[in-house]
Symmetry: C2
Subunit: 329 residues, 2 copies
């Protein structure tokens, strides 16, 4: 790979002159400019980012540390992050923690070694004090994405509001009892419950919470619920994967969807529209999140003195499909 010094030798000028030409910076003699450019092109010159970075400029590297790239949701996010980074001439150096704190810690060191200009992170535990201390010590512009970490710029979806949307929707579609699949510490659950309690003070008695995964056990729980609640049941699953499993179980049980039970998933995975019936789901604004996160990050990179911390809760959107729409007969 040819270097500036080499081009200088070949064209009979000094290396800084080559630098000027190649960076289009200063006023250079047009003839020299042409000669140098021609030589560079002929030899396929590519600047050595390592040297550039050493000499004081930026690395144009953005470290992306996330928990699970094989998760379609994160993979989608990465796609948009990469797209945005590219627009500004940055490249992504990617790390997958696999939800392991040790890996996360190690990667925090690796990105330091590469002197990344900025960091976009999906933390394993966004509010663990150890992690926060570590991050703050790095002194690298950082944006947390899909999670809210206090004291750090965060771009995420307001899950509580999303849960409320689902609750409102199922209620409007005539559901008289409810099943929530997932963990009750989930903000989705909080929003779901709150809005429905507003509608119906006896709501709690009409709610079944299922956290187990085993299909047979789930079927038993559902059976029990349907026996106790004759009216239409609204089911909210914390993600589409889970919703898919439930759809299969309902199918097997002979429960009519959406007639007897309305189902809503989360993440709006591509498969939703292909399922039978098509699955209602909550769509997270992946591209918007990526764009905003990168925007915040680049701003911090360019203006390091701006120490202002921003929170960007974004709104998810329920995409109603057949699985939860009450069709009057």
């Amino acid at each position: 790979m040819i270097t500036m010094t080499e081009i200088a030798r070949l064209t009979g000028v000094s290396q800084p002159t080559v630098s000027r030409v190649l960076n289009g910076n200063q006023a250079v003699n047009p003839e020299v400019r042409e000669r140098v450019m021609a030589c560079a092109k002929a030899h396929g010159y590519q600047p050595n980012v390592m040297a550039q970075s050493l000499a004081g400029s930026r690395t144009h590297l953005i470290g992306v540390i996330l928990t699970d790239i094989s998760n379609a949701f994160f993979a989608d996010l990465v796609k948009y992050l990469e797209q945005e980074a590219r627009k500004s001439g940055f490249s992504l150096i990617l790390f997958n923690t696999n939800y392991e704190l040790l890996h996360e810690q190690e990667y925090l060191e690796v990105v330091q070694r590469y002197r990344v200009d900025g960091l976009i992170v999906v933390p394993v535990q966004e509010n663990a004090s150890k992690w926060k201390t570590h991050i703050h010590h790095l002194n690298i512009p950082t944006v947390v994405i899909t999670r809210r970490a206090e004291g750090l710029d965060s771009v995420y979806v307001d899950h509580q509001e999303a849960g409320a949307q689902v609750g409102r929707h199922l209620h409007e579609e005539g559901c008289e009892s409810y099943v929530f699949f997932g963990n009750t510490v989930d903000q989705k659950y909080q929003g779901f419950v709150e809005i429905l309690e507003e509608q119906d003070s006896a709501f709690r008695e009409k709610l079944t919470i299922i956290a187990i995964r085993d299909s047979n056990a789930v079927e038993r729980e559902l059976q029990k619920h349907f026996e106790q609640h004759p009216g239409r049941t609204g089911i909210f699953a914390y993600n589409d994967r889970r919703a898919l499993q439930i759809l299969g179980i309902l199918n097997k049980m002979g429960i009519e969807v959406p007639g007897r039970a309305g189902l809503v998933g989360f993440d709006n995975t591509y498969m939703c529209e292909y399922l039978y019936p098509p699955l209602s789901s909550v769509s997270q604004p992946n591209e918007a999140m990526a764009v905003k996160a990168m925007e915040l990050l680049l701003h911090k990179i360019q203006q390091p003195e701006d120490i202002h911390v921003e929170n960007w809760p974004m709104r998810a959107e329920l995409i109603p499909r057949e699985s939860s729409l009450f069709r009057k007969k």
Copy 2:
């Protein structure tokens, strides 16, 4: 970020001595060693990869250029690639071409600028001569993955053999007619057809090929097929996404699966086991491919003189599930 020179100043030794200590290389005075180590640890020293690389060692960067990270299959692959890279102390710098040749070309330049030690690529068009010339000019150890590029190390799945597996399976499960969803240039199709022609010389007349995507149009085509072929029908879809759509359509048509039609997908996506009925699918050995690709690449990086080109066709495996199993009543 503290440097070796700074540590040298603080501990009253020379910078090269610090280097020796930190690299555990030479015999150094134990007292000095301890002093330096303590100082490094206290200040959270991290080597500057840019400087290391400039000074002659490797960048420990592996460029990963692929077509679509948001595709679950590639995302999964990346997960394993990252895992393997990490084991050997390499990091991934990731690029998503989005199937655009211009982006691919541009990224080929970017990885040069970063002086990556090696390249793992899913090309947009693996046998375009322009691309191949470009790749060869780079003179960077490269492994092509999921595709077979002649003249370049390639790790991929033998789709023809995979198609044959599906054909054999459906035949064994008592199918008397067949539907293939996809493109006939697909190697999967070739293998599928070949094996079935061996079994039944009149096979071609019993085969319907559907390439369209529109659900209504697909339904009409299927309807026609079922009217003409009363026996059990074996359906092979080129990927799970498509299989899912078909499952929905069959459901809607009232076609019993697997009784009236056996269905097999491709990629063995996580959703297969949650579908109703669970979907038979061909599993690509993602982890094995990633491991092999990285192994080949690291070998080439460490032994650049070994110019030997290797092809690694790997075997996919049909995972039979309820959707294609003939249950005798």
